[in-house]
Structure formats: structure tokens, C-alpha cells
Symmetry: C4
């Protein structure tokens, strides 16, 4: 049934589908929107909405991460971003928000991220997030996990997110001792989220490391240039559904360990969120959408962490014309723009009601239609 | 034969097609255009053309609904629109016709629709329509049917349209007593049209409620934002053909009850109308196309009823540059624009003639070609 | 092997392909371009190139038709166009060449074509064409064939083209005695070309009328609005290949009568011409491309005959910015634009050489690749 | 498994895929970028990167070819270009860099290439390249190979590239004695690269001529007009994979002769390069991308050699707004534009690392996903 296509003699490719390629098909039942729950829980941490903040400096500061937490989501701070390189990065964030969408901006990003990470600032930022209330989570890259983990753990976070463009359970190196995720996670007593990944096998192997959650996707969006630079493109509907199959198989092989899938990529609207969950995700990681609210640290600018890579930047820089309102309004409405960018989780809740589902786990079974209109 | 695609391991989607994805294939016979009939009949009510006016304030006022009736179609007034909230909404309609296509307009729509419905105005509007001649039909939402039906029925309508974004035969609620469509319709002695719906099963269940007609589609058009907000997109060719299969099966299970299908969505041109009927619809519901004639109540402005939702608006607002002429010309020509927006039913009649068919029921068997050009 | 898709339950559609959807695949042999022949012959009339002029007033006047004949193609004059309605239509053609691309132009077209046809002018135009040299051919619509044929035949044409938007071998009418193509052609002793048609069955039936040539396609191009108005769209690659199958089957059933296929639609460039012939056409009918040369009667304006329909116009009006050169240059080069619009048959010849073929009949077997890039 | 589609009754087409239609799927392993090798070797000549300069005057001068050689790639000079027609073509190149993208430019190209080739300049250019260091390679067309080969061989090149729009192992001519590639190559004692070709059979036959390398593709890019003019379009992913199958079969039939595939077409970014190699190419031929560096001979102008054809030009002319930096930076970074046009082989190396591969031969097995998004 799976589309396996021979693109040339003896060379096959699996056919992949984007969230834009599919849509939700309402079933024969409808339900009151007030009877629908969007609650999500990761390990011991309950959330009102299945929303994880993308650990980008354009989206998550210690303050905005805490705000997201208070509003029912999970804020995540990047400990390799500006907040751990500068005592006070607000000036830099302000400067960045005024830049244009050209090559000079990339060079400026490369410059400001060339500043070294200061471990004591990690401690300080975690303290600030803790003060803000809500679940405390930070992101570290696989390359720096061994070096930075002691500081992070000492600082006392609730959830650790180990996230790189692509993370595998088996990194090969002839020079460094690579991170052994399985051993690393086994030694911790806090839930770890790892990713991104894009296929069944990698997702399954990451689950076997003991992670509580796996990130599916590379955070691709309209500003992403991963395909131009690396030739890698992730059809998210397929990636999520494949990872959901890995989750089922891992559940079976472990006799009951449920690993959460967090979709990261091509999510702009409440409709996109509904589709990602309908494909099997447990939660979504929102980057650019959260950069559009009043609380966004960079005043409406958006760049993916990969956009500041010193020799191979992989993401463009954009600045929104105006804020879409407070983070609360962005998440819960009311909307006064009909384009699905406001009231993100009110839209999700209504989609679930229109299809007659009560909770997110049920909604993963929603019917889908494939159409290739664009 | 049906395209069922595995979008990811264990997750399938039906492939759906839009009216734009298909086209009509003329058969080996042609026929004189004057020998072709576009007549349609719903219950005891005969119509010269299979045209139902979309119950939107941008299209249907008591006056324009009556005009459509006199011209051979079926006008439908929304009893939850401006005409039952205001003694005289013409000032507001005039104001709306001057607005731009931005967020302030959505806010203004939300404001003017916040005014409560006045039951006595329902009675008055039905009286006005009755005076205008033609079949009298009004639309009510499923949520307000139980509350408003007594007033509507007392006022004396010919046909009742119960229409929501999505209507199912089984609405679940823990707080309100939901509308039981089957019992409700059984108690009435006038024909009821219900919808919209998008799939075989819902269509079949709606037919089983005793409805005389079922609306297929959600009224989607280029201004619709249902997909961005809810993740729901309706490939109309597939939705109509699936509902036509439900009509056949219901005909068989009842030994002869024929339920009419009214297509609502992606209909702009006479070519679109021909395709919808060729897919199996009995009639079409026209919204935005009718907003472009001289008689349109809002002077060329168009917004879908869902565009004024108080916290989750789902439709943009557009204003046509100029009228395409009288409603009569729009429906019957002559056209002086070659784009299929004028002479809508003259175009349908000619398409039927080119394919050699005599009437609408025959034309539902017309050959189709699928091509994915756009 | 044929793609038959179920677009909805129980409703199927054949998948169709456009010339843009396919491309030619060179085979393992190449050939000198000077060894390639583009000669074509219809009945007793030999042609240097497989090029038929589209009987539109924008393309074919008595003079330009004769020029095309002298250059090795077949000019066809529309006897229901301006040249048989006006003693001297040059003023009108000049006026039209100055019009814009808006509704007023359609109205002006409708006006100038409202003038009645004067039979004596048919005689005069045929005389002029005869004087110009080359094969003399005129086009008449099926509706007017019985009325105008006597005049046309008396005037003495070589080839008669009976062309309407869609022509079937079985036209049904309750009011008029319809044209019986088979009997009509049997009574003539000159070759008749009929069309357009879009499918195997109609093509086969038209062949059985005794026609020497069948036109495949409806003359669709980027200015065509047949789909918007009638819902009919012709994927030309499929239409040509299907008609070629009808040609094969008819050849078999008659023990050797070969009916020529003339493709009419979506032909702008030498590459398009090569693809149409590669799909199985024997010749191409060129409309808009020939309106771009110095000899074009309307100074670079282009409108399809259907664009002037009195109540249902089906085609837009366009005016080229500048001529692409003489008709000779358009057909045979040299080109100084690299876009395939000049040197149309030099391009065809080179395509044949690159694929190693000697003549047009061989070239119909060329390999094709399908790709849906656009 | 191969998509063979019946586009019409009895007429089939193979489905072809572009590099844009596919993307790379990372596997479950990742690798340090410093452990990855992009080395390539053709016959006795080792290269640091699998990069061949396109023998166009816009890209390769004796100087820039030598620079590319020093940087680890293979420069190729066109001995039928401006450098062998003019003692000093720098003035002409300067003039061309100032031209616009219109028909006058094509005429000017036709003029400057009308100048005859001077054999003594071939000798001189080879001498200059030899002085510049690196491997010396020149391109000659199949038509002129017999005439120019003696001069070229006397001048002493390392590698000979026989390249035309389409080269077959069997060229048929009734007037000239055509080049017999097999005999010609057998008589030489230097490696020969031949092409382009687009299918399995032609590739296999070209391998059997004894060539060391075969060029796959026609150098198509966004400026190419081969399809408009000839109807030929090359879906590169399919063409490369098919040629790779020919390479495998030829390897088997010869018991071990490995012929290198050089992809030529639709290569703009490091992502495109990674995909071409992932489809099975051994190296890529870069035209327009190399015209964007400081060393480009025509100051950022780009035209394909076919764009100057005297009567059938097949390519447009473009001028870049500004240089992307030195050739070294273009090939090895650092990039400050995130669009994949800088650091072309750093991007390739990182793509290989993300997928866990060590060298180019291994990387040909990388997993692919097909998606038809654009």
C-alpha cells in the first residue's frame, strides 16, 4: 500500500506527504466544543495544551518561556543561545529585530553567536525560569551535552531537551568520544526529550535510548533552507505517521513504555497543528508562530538556530510587520484575523469538536484525505 | 480502484479530488442547446434552474431572495443574519460594502453580528419574502433550530434549511439537549434541507433523518480559511461523488426515497457548476457569484457567515470592483466577459448540449477526465 | 495500465495528460538534421511542413492563407469570419488590433460578427485565395454547412474544413434537420477535414464519416476559457494518443484507409509541435503562433472564433507587443529568440534529428517521458 | 515497480523525476563532518571534490579552469568557444557582461560566435592551462572532433571531453563520414569523457565506446529553453539513476570497467549536488553556479553554449547582480547566504555527515524520499 516508486532503474524512493498535502475529514459525529480537552502530559508534568516552545532566541527567553508555562504549555530555553553568551542580550535582540532580510543579517547573526557560552549564565537563566513558575526545560545540542550537562543538572531543570538538526542514536566519530545517549539518559532521573529525526528507524532507536519524548522534524518552515543546503526535506505528515508507528512498535516491545512525539516543522496555523496531531503527534513545537506575539523576545524577528551557523547557515531571517497580540490571545483567542494564526489551540479544540473527538489521544485516529492541491 | 494511500506506516488517507482536478469529456453525441432542460424540482417545488442562493447577508436579503425565486431559483434567507438582528440593516450593509480586506473588517463583522436575534423580525422577513413571490426558504443553524423553529414555522416557510459549517446526524453534548434531527424532521410537514457534510457516511446518516435535501461541502471558496483554522479541506468532486453514492444506497434501502444533493463550495463559474452536476449533484448553492450582481444586498462585498464568528472567524472579506450586471444576466446572459462568471446557467445548458444530454439527471452520468494541471 | 481513478465511490475518471506533462526522450541514435524530412501529404495535396493555419480572422486572410500555402503549409479561411461579412474588413481588423484586453473588446467582437454573411463574398475570397497560389481550403461550421456548402463548392475549393468547438458524427435536434456528415461527405469529391473532437469514440465515428482528416482538440490555449465556461478541458497528449488509436483501429476495420489527425490546441512552440507529433498527430493547426508574424491580418491581435459568441463568449483577446518577423522566419528561422516561438519547423526538424528519425511517420513512435513538473 | 503510464490508448510514457521531486532521507547514523571525504578520481587523476567546470565561456577561461584545478576540481575549456576564435576575447566578454536579457543579446552572441575557430589558438590555450597547473581538459563537439582532435592532442591535454547537446554512440549521416566514437577512443591513450545523454540505453552504448566518463543530462537549468525549442526535457533524478544502472550492467559485462557519471543539469545548490550524487552520479558539472564567483570570465553573465546557435538558439542569457565571492569561497565557504549557493562542497560534506556516510561511493546508496511539493 505504501507508495514505493522506482525513480530510476533499481533506485527507489518512498513517497512522502506534507501536512499541506492532507486534510482532516470530519466523521459522522460532532461534539460540543466545551466537552473537548486539549490536555497533554509528559512524564509527571501536565499541560493544558500540547504546545512546546521552540528553543530559539527569537521565541524563548527566560521570561517568555515562563509565560508559556503559566499559560499551560512548555517553555524551553536554548542554553547555547544568546542568553548564556551575554549577561544581558536584550540590546542585541533589539538590534536584530531591526535588521533586514539580507546577507548582512546572516553575518551579524554569525558574529553575535561567535561569543562563547558562559556556564554561570546557564545557572542564572534556569534560576530565572524557576522563579517565573511552570515547568523548567532547556535545550542543549548533542555536541555540547557532555560538557554542559553538569551545569544544567546542577541548576535544576525539570526536563532536558537534547536537540540538533538531526540526532541519531549512533553518532560516529574518529576524534571525539561521541555522546552515548542511552547511557547518558539512563544515568539521569529527569525526563529527556531528544531529536529531531525524520524516519521510523531513527525514531525507534531514539526511543530505545530511554527518552521520554522524541522530536520529529527539523523545524523546517518557510524560512528554512535545509533543502537548498543539504538536500534534506521532511514531508512532515509522513515523518509523524512513521514515528507514530515506531511508538506503537516500541510500546509493544517494552510492554507499555509510551514515548511522546513532538512535531517540529511546517506548523503555522491551528489547522497545521490539528493535522500534525491527527497524523499521530502528541504535541507540537512552535517556533515562528510564537515569535509573532507581544512577549516574543526579538520583537517579531524570526530566525532558526541553524541560521547562525558559522560556515553553513541554513535558514533565512524574517521580521513580522506587527504583533498578533498577547501570547495568551495567540494561544486561546479571540481571533480577529481569520487566517488561523491566532487562537491556535481554540482552533484545535474546535477541529476536534467538529470531528466528534474528546481528547488528543482519540483525535490521533481522525480520518484524513489526501489531496495534492496547493 | 479507490486511491487509498499510506501516508506513513499504518496511517492511510483517501485521495480526494477538487472540481479543478477534473473536467468534462464530451461524448460522441451533440445536441441542440434549445432541446436541453435545466429544470430541477425539490419536493413539490419546481425550479427552472438548479440554483440555491447561499444564505449569506452578502447575497440574500428578503428582496434578492424573492428575485432569485422569480428568476427560477431558490432564495434562502439566513434567520441568524443581519435581517433578524436589525430593524433596517441597509445602513450596516452599506457600511460593510465600503470596508477593506483587513482585520478591522473582521472586528466590525464580529461587532455587528453581536446584536441579538429578534424573533419578531423573523416573522416580518418571512412575510416580506412571501410578498415577493416564489418559494420561501430560510436557513437556521443546528444550535438554534430548537429555539427558533417555532417562530419560523409560525411565520410559514415552504422549505427549511438547517445549515452549519458541519452538521452530523449525531451531535454529542454533555450540557445541552442536542437537536435530534430525525425526530425534529419527522414532526414537520415541510421539506428540510440539512448540511453541510463532506463524506459518504455523514451524508447517508443525514438522509436517514428524513431530509429532502443534503448540502455537500462547507461553502469553501477562495475567501474561505477553514483549512488554515481547522485543518479541514473538502475536495468537492470527491465529496459530491461520495454523497451521490450515499443517495443511491439510501434509494435502495428505502425502496425509492430520492434525497437531493446541493453542492456548496468552490463554485465560481458555469464550468464549475457543470462539473458539480456531472459529479452527481442535483443543484448548486451559490454564494460569492451572486454577490456580484446588481441586486446583491451588500453592494459587491462578500463574506461567508463563518467570517463573523466571535472568537474563531473562518473566512476573509472581499469586495468586487464592479457588478457583473443584473441577477438575470448573471444567470441567463448574455455574457460580455468570457470568464464563465456571467450567463451561469446558459453556460451549463451549452455544456449539456455539447455532451448530448437532455436533462440534469442524465447529465450526472457525463464522462470525466482527471488531470492535475493547474 | 491506463489510469482509471475513482474520484468518489462509483464515479471514475480517466487520467489525462497535457503536452506540458510529457517530454520527448531521445533514443540511442542521432541523425544529421539535413537528412530529416518534415513533409506531409493530405489526400493528393503535398506539404513541405505539417502546418495548417487556424481559420481565425486573427491569423488567416485570403492573402496570409496563400502565403502559408506558398511556404509549404495549408492556409484555411473561415467563411463565417469577417472576410465574408464585409466587403473590406481591413479597417475593422485595424481597429481590433488597437483594442485592449477587457470586456469592451468582447462586446466589440460581438458587434462586428453580428453582421450577416454575404455568400457572394465567399466566392470572391476563394477566387482571391486561388490567385494567391497553393492549396485552397476554407472552414465552415457544422451548423452552416448545408446552407453554405453550395456556394463554397461552386467557388471551387481544394479542401473543405468543417469545424466547430465540438463536432460529433451524431448531432441530435428536434427542430432542424441536422447535418448528416457521412452522407454529406459521400456526395463530395473533395477531401473533408472535420473536428474538433477530444476522445477515441468521437474520433472513430468522425473517421467513419469518410473524412480525410480529423481535428483533435478545441483550439485551447492560454486565452481559451472553455473550461471556465463549459467545464470542458482537453489534455492534448491524451486526446491525440487516443485519436491515434482510433486511426489504427479504423485502418484495420477499413483495410487501409488512413485518416490524418490534425492537432489543435496548446501549441505555442516548436517543442509543443514536436510533442504533438510524437503523440501521434500527423499535422498541427496553428492559431495564435501565426498571429505573431508580419503577415498576420490583425496586426498581432489574437482571438479565437469562439471569443465573439453573441451570448456565451469563450475566449479572451490578446495583443502581442511586437511581431516575431516574417511568416517565413517564424516557420523556418533563423531565430534570434531562444523561446521556441521562431523557426517552428526548424525546431521540429532538429528534434527529429536528435532522436534519430527520418520522417514524421517514424517520429510518431518517439519515446516519451511523463513528468508533472511545471 | 517503475511507473509506466498509458498517456493514451496504446501510447505509454515512463514517469520521470527531477532532483526537485526528491530529497535525501537521513539514516539512523550520523558522523563527524571531519571524517567525511569528498575525494573523487577519474582515471589517474585525483580530485579533492567531484566538481567539473562546465565548458562555457561564461565559466571557464584558461585562467579560471586552472584555478578550479588548483582548488581540487576539474576545469574544462571549450575549444569551440571565444578563446579559440579570438586572440584576446576579454573585451568581448566584458561587453557581454553588460548586455541585457533580451533578443539583441542572442543576436550579439550569434555574431561573436560566427568568427571561425583558429587552431593555433587551441595550442596556445592548452599551453596557458598547463602553465596554470592542475589537470588539463578541453571540450570539443562531436561534429568537430575529427577536425580538431589532432591539434588538441598535439597540444597535450590530460582529458578530452566530447560534448554536444545530445551525443549518441551511433550518429547517422548520408553526407559526412560520422565520428565513430569507439574507434576514435580506442586509438587514444588519454581518458575521454562523452555526453550528454539522458537514458539507460544511450548511456550504456556510450560506455561501450570505451569512454572513461559519461555526461548525464543536457546542462538544463532555469535559463535553458531546450524543452520549448525541441520538446526534450530531462528529469535529472531519473536520468542519473538510469545511467547508474547502465554503469552497473556495464561493470558486469566487462568484469570490472567502472565508467564515471558526471551529472550536468539543474544543479544550483549544495543540496542539488548532494541529491545528484545520492542518485548515483560520481561527479557534477557546474555551469551557472561557477559563473557567480569573482573569477568568472564574463563578470557574472551566464549563457549556455547552445544559446549562441546561429539559427536555433536554445538558452536565455542572464547576469547576476553581484558575485558570491571567490571561487574558493563558493566551493568551500564560509557562507553568509543561507541559500545553498555558497560553500557548495562544504554543504555536500555536511549532508554526507548527517546521513552517516564516509565517502562518495557509499553516499550513492543514501535513502531518498519522493515528494512532489514545489
Amino acid at each position: 500500500m505504501r507508495d514505493v516508486v522506482e525513480i530510476g532503474l533499481g533506485k527507489t524512493a518512498q513517497r512522502g506527504y506534507h501536512l499541506d498535502d492532507i486534510a482532516i475529514v470530519p466523521s459522522r459525529r460532532t461534539r460540543d466544543v466545551d466537552d473537548v480537552s486539549t490536555a497533554w502530559q509528559l512524564d509527571a508534568y501536565p499541560f493544558r495544551i500540547p504546545c512546546v516552545g521552540h528553543p530559539s532566541d527569537a521565541t524563548m527567553s527566560p521570561t517568555s518561556a515562563a509565560t508559556l508555562g503559566r499559560l499551560g504549555g512548555l517553555g524551553v530555553l536554548n542554553v547555547e543561545g544568546l542568553w548564556t553568551r551575554y549577561e544581558d542580550p536584550t540590546k542585541i535582540l533589539e538590534e536584530l529585530s531591526g535588521l533586514g532580510e539580507d546577507a548582512r543579517t546572516t553575518r551579524r547573526l554569525q558574529e553575535v553567536y561567535a561569543e562563547p557560552i558562559r556556564p554561570e549564565l546557564i545557572t542564572e537563566r534556569v534560576r530565572q525560569m524557576r522563579e517565573g513558575g511552570g515547568t523548567v526545560a532547556v535545550r542543549v545540542s548533542p555536541q555540547h551535552t557532555l560538557a554542559l550537562a553538569p551545569v544544567i543538572l546542577d541548576a535544576g531543570v525539570d526536563i532536558l531537551v537534547i536537540q540538533g538538526t538531526l540526532v541519531s542514536a549512533e553518532h560516529v566519530s574518529t576524534t571525539d568520544e561521541p555522546l552515548n545517549l542511552k547511557e547518558f539518559i539512563a544515568d539521569l532521573d529527569l525526563p529527556v526529550v531528544v531529536g529531531g529525526c525524520t524516519d521510523y528507524k531513527t525514531a525507534l532507536h531514539l526511543m530505545r535510548t530511554g527518552a521520554a519524548g522524541v522530536i520529529v522534524g527539523l523545524g523546517g518552515d518557510e524560512w528554512s533552507t535545509t533543502e537548498s543546503v543539504l538536500g534534506i526535506r521532511v514531508p512532515m505528515a509522513t515523518a509523524i505517521a512513521d514515528a507514530a508507528a515506531a511508538r506503537r512498535d516500541y510500546l509493544d516491545e517494552t510492554g507499555g513504555r509510551y514515548v511522546h512525539l513532538i512535531a517540529d516543522g511546517d506548523l503555522r496555523t491551528s489547522g497545521d497543528i490539528a493535522k500534525a496531531l491527527g497524523c499521530g503527534a502528541d504535541a507540537v513545537m512552535l517556533g515562528e508562530p510564537l515569535s509573532l506575539c507581544d512577549e516574543a523576545p526579538a520583537g517579531g524577528a524570526w530566525w532558526h538556530p541553524a541560521a547562525s551557523h558559522p560556515d553553513l547557515p541554513r535558514g533565512a531571517f524574517g521580521v513580522a510587520e506587527e504583533s498578533l497580540g498577547s501570547m495568551e490571545r495567540l494561544l486561546y483567542g479571540p481571533a480577529d484575523e481569520p487566517d488561523g494564526q491566532q487562537n491556535l489551540f481554540g482552533g484545535l479544540r474546535r477541529a476536534m469538536a467538529k470531528c466528534g473527538y474528546r481528547d488528543l489521544k482519540e483525535f490521533q485516529k481522525v480520518g484524513l484525505v489526501l489531496d495534492l492541491e496547493r
